[in-house]
C-alpha cells in the first residue's frame, strides 16, 4: 500500500462535517482534528490513486486546502514492478 498523511484545512463551520465524511472514502482514516485542520492518512495501492483521493477532497465544499505531509510509495507496483 502507498501510505500518505495529509492535513486538510477547512472553513471552521465545515470542520465537523468534513471530518465525518472523510472516512467514507476508500483508504482514508481520520487521526485527529486540530482547530479546523484534520489529520488523515490515505492508503491506496498507487501514488496515482492516492493523489486522486487527495484531489477529490480538495474540491469538497468547506475544504480550503489539502497539504501533503508524508508519502511512502515503496509498494507502488506501477513505479517499482519488481519491488524495492
Amino acid at each position: 500500500m502507498v501510505i500518505s498523511s495529509l492535513v486538510v484545512e477547512t472553513i471552521p463551520e465545515y470542520t465537523e462535517a468534513v471530518a465525518a465524511k472523510l472516512p467514507g472514502l476508500d483508504g482514508v482514516e481520520v487521526h485527529g482534528v486540530e482547530g479546523c485542520k484534520i489529520v488523515i492518512t490515505i492508503e491506496r495501492p498507487t501514488v496515482d490513486e492516492s493523489h486522486d483521493t487527495a484531489n477529490e477532497i480538495s474540491f469538497w465544499e468547506g475544504v480550503l486546502i489539502v497539504n501533503l505531509i508524508y508519502l511512502n510509495f515503496e509498494d507502488d507496483e506501477t513505479i517499482y514492478p519488481d519491488g524495492v
Binding site: 486540530e34 501514488v47 493523489h51 501533503l68 505531509i69 508519502l71 510509495f73 515503496e74
Partner: protein, 852 residues
Amino acid sequence: MSMDITRRNFVKSTAIAMATAAAAGSVAGMVGCAPRVNEPINGDSTTKTLAVCRFCGCGCGVIVEVRNNKVVSVYGDPENDSNRGLNCVKGYYLSKILYAEDRLTKPLIREDNSLKGTDEGFREATWTEALDLVAEKLRETWKADKSRLAFWGSGQQPIVEGYAQAKFWKAGLLSNNIDPNARLCMASAVVGFMNVFQTDEPAGCYADIDDADVFITWGANMAEAHPMLYSRVMTRKISNPDVKHYDVTTLGTRTSATADKVIMFGNNGDLAITNCIAHYLIENETYDKQFVADHLQFKSGTENIGNAYEDGYDKSEIGQAVDATQSITFEEYAERLKPYTYEYASQISGASVEDIQELYELFANPNIKITSFWTMGVNQHNRGTWVNHNLHNIHLLSGHYCKPGDGGFSLTGQPSACGTAREVGTFCHRLPADLVVANEAHRRFSEAVWNLPEGYLDEIKTPGFHTTKIFRELSNGNIDFLWTAHNNWAQSMSNLTRFLGRGAEDKRGIFDAFIVVSEVYPTISTKYANVVLPAAMWVEREGQFGNGERRTAVFEKAVDPPGDAMWDLWMLMEIAKRVLNGETIDGEDAFDRLFGQWYDKDAGEFKFGTQREVCSSIWEEYRTFSNPTLNERAAAINTEKKLKMEGKQLAPYEEYIYNHGMTWPVREVDGKWLPTKWRFSYGPQEEGYDQIGIEMYGDKGLRKDISFYKSADHRPSVVFRPWEPPAEIPDDEYPFVLCTGRLLEHWHTGSMTRRVPALNTALPEALLDMNAADMEELGIKDGDRVKVISRWGECEITASSAGRTKPREKYLFAPFFAEETLINLVQQEMYCPLSKEPDYKKTCVRIEKVGA
C-alpha cells in the same frame, strides 16, 4: 515485495506523527524527525537526504528517503522555515517524475534539419561523439562571429550549475548572449527592484503571512501557483477572522473564490488604481510624513514609450531612452498624480469608485499591516516594470514596508528563479551578485574574483541579446548556434508562429541553426534539436535552489541517474574544455584558469571524490562575490568603489545543510551564521532583522528603525509612472482579451507533470475558459472546438464555461501546458520596454467555431 507488517506500522505511525505535528503548527515538536546527516532509520537500509521541491518558486524543503538506490518516500521538511513541514499535492509526484518511461538516457544526434519539428531523425550517440560535435559547432561559430551564438538557461538550474555556465559564457567565451527563462516571468520585478532600491530583493519574507492583517493579491493566482504559501494565508485568516484578503485581478480564479473581496479591472487599470491610491494618500495627507522625509526621493521617467513591436525597438530613439529618470520634488510628484481621481481610475480600469476607495483606505490606515503579493499578472505586462514601481510606491508612501506582516512581496515562479537566474549572472546584462557588465567597477571586481587580468572583461561591457531578441534573431537567421537547458522555449515563448518558423518565409532560421537541448524528457524543444543531452534530474545529483524569500537550500544526491544521463556540470566542463582547447588567459591554459581548480581536463573528471565537495568548492568561489574579504584584490575594489558586496552575504556551504536552508544576507555572529528575514529593518539579528547590515552600512534612528542602506543616498526612488494603454486594444476584428498562465497540476510547460497519469486525469486538456454569455452569443457550447485567432497566429482549442478560471465577458484564459494546443502560437511578442519581459496577458483575439 510489499512492506512487512513491522515496517508498514512504522511508516504509518511516522506519517501520522508528522501530520499531527504539522497540524499543530509545532515545529519544535517535530525537530528530530528530519535528519542532519544520513543515518539509517528503523534498523533497515533506508537513508534520508535533504532536498527542496523541484516544482514552483515557493521552494519547500522536503526529506527524501531511499532504499536500494530508489526513492521510496518524501515528506515536508519541518526544519525548513519556508514551508515548516507542509507540501502541496504536487508533492505526490516529486519522485514519480524521476521514473516516467520516456526519460532521456542516451545522447541523441540528428543531422537532417528537414526533420526538425518532429521526433524523427535522431540516432543514439556516445557521449564523446555528442560532446565533440557540440563543441565543434560552438567553437566554429565562436571563432567566425561571436554574435551568432547564444545560451538560454533556466530558473530550474541549480545555483552552482548556473554560476559555472555564466562563468564559461562571460569569461570563457567573452559573450553576453546568455539569458534565462526567468526573463519570461521575473524580469519586470528585477528592474522594478533595481530602479526603486538599487538592489534586487524583497524587504520581507514568507513569515510576513503570519502577521498580516490584510492580504492583497495583485495579478496573482496564488491558490494554484503558490499552494503552500496560500495555505499559510488561509491559516492566518482562520486564526483571526478580522484578517481580510482582497484579490485585484482581471480574471476570476481559485484565489478569487476564497478572497473576501474581488476587484476586477482591465485595460492596464492597475497603473491607474495604484496612482489613484498614491494621489489620495497625498491629497488627504494620510501618507506617512516621517517615512517620506527620512527615506524617500522622487523622480519621473521617460513616458509615452510605445511598444516593442519591431525587432529594432531597443536601438530606436525611444527604446534607448526608456530607462532615463530625473529627480523631481515631492510637490511635482503630487502634481503628476492629480489627474488620478477615483472617477478617472474607475473609468480607465473598470473597477468601481467604491472599490478603489476601499483599497485606498487600507493604505491610509497606519494601524493595520498590509502584505501585498504580486506575480505574473504584474510582471508579464507591457508596462510590467511600471506596475512594480507603482506597487512599491504605495507601500513606501504609506510607510507599509519592511516590518513583519507589512510590506510588498513579489512572488517568483521557478524553484531557483532567484538563487540561480537572478543572482549568479545568467542575464545578458549581468555578472554574478547583481553586478552588471556595463559598470567598470563591477567588471574589475568580477575579474578579481575570477582571477582574470584587469580589463579582461571590457570586451563584454555591452549587454548581449535578451530572450526575445535571441529568438527574434534565431528566426531572422542570425543565430548559428543555440544551446538551451532545462526550459521549453518551443512551448513557452510568445509568438510561436514566428519563432517556430510557421509564419513568414524570411523568419525560418530555426531550421538552419544548430540547436543543442539539455533535458530530462522529450519536449517540443527537443523536436527542434540537433543534439539532445540527457541530464541527471533533481536528486540524481547534488544541487542548490534559491527561492522567493531568498532562502538558499541544498538538495543532496539521493539516487543515481538512469542510463547514460549525466550531471549538467560534467557536460559543461567537457564542452568548455573542448571549446577552449589551445586558448590562453594571461599565458595560462584558459580552461585551467577558469575551471582547473575543480576539474581535471585530462582525466575527464572532477578533482574531488564527491559531488558535495565539488559543489562546496564552486560555492566557495561564488560566495567570494558576497564575502570580498576572502580575496584581497576583490576586497580592495569593494572598499575603494563602495560596492557594498557584503549586502547579500552568503554563508559557507555546509551551513545551508545544517540549517535546512537560510535566507540571505547570512551573518556570522559569535561563530554562528544567522539569516536575515526582514531586510533594511533594524533589530536583533537572532530574530531575523538586518542588524549587521545596518550597523555596517546604514543609519539608525530613522522612521520605523528602517535604513535603506543599499539604495542611492539611502533613499529608495518613488518614480512617477503614468497609465499607458495595453499594446493591443480590443476592436471589432479582435474583440477578446486573451490571458495565458499556469494551473495547479502542470508546471514547467507540463514537461514533467504531464507524464504523471493522475495529474493528466485531473487536468487532461488545456481548455479555453470563456464566459457563458460570450459562448451563447457565438453559438458555442461547452466542449466545442474553436479557433483562437490573433494578429500573430491561430490555434485550435476546446471551449468551456466550466473551466478552472471564470473570465468576465470578452475575457479569455488558456493554460500553456499543453503541447498539442500550443496556445502561444497566438500570443503577441511585445515586451515591457524596460524589462524586456513579454506580455502574455492581453493579446486581442477573435473566436470562431470550428466547422461553423
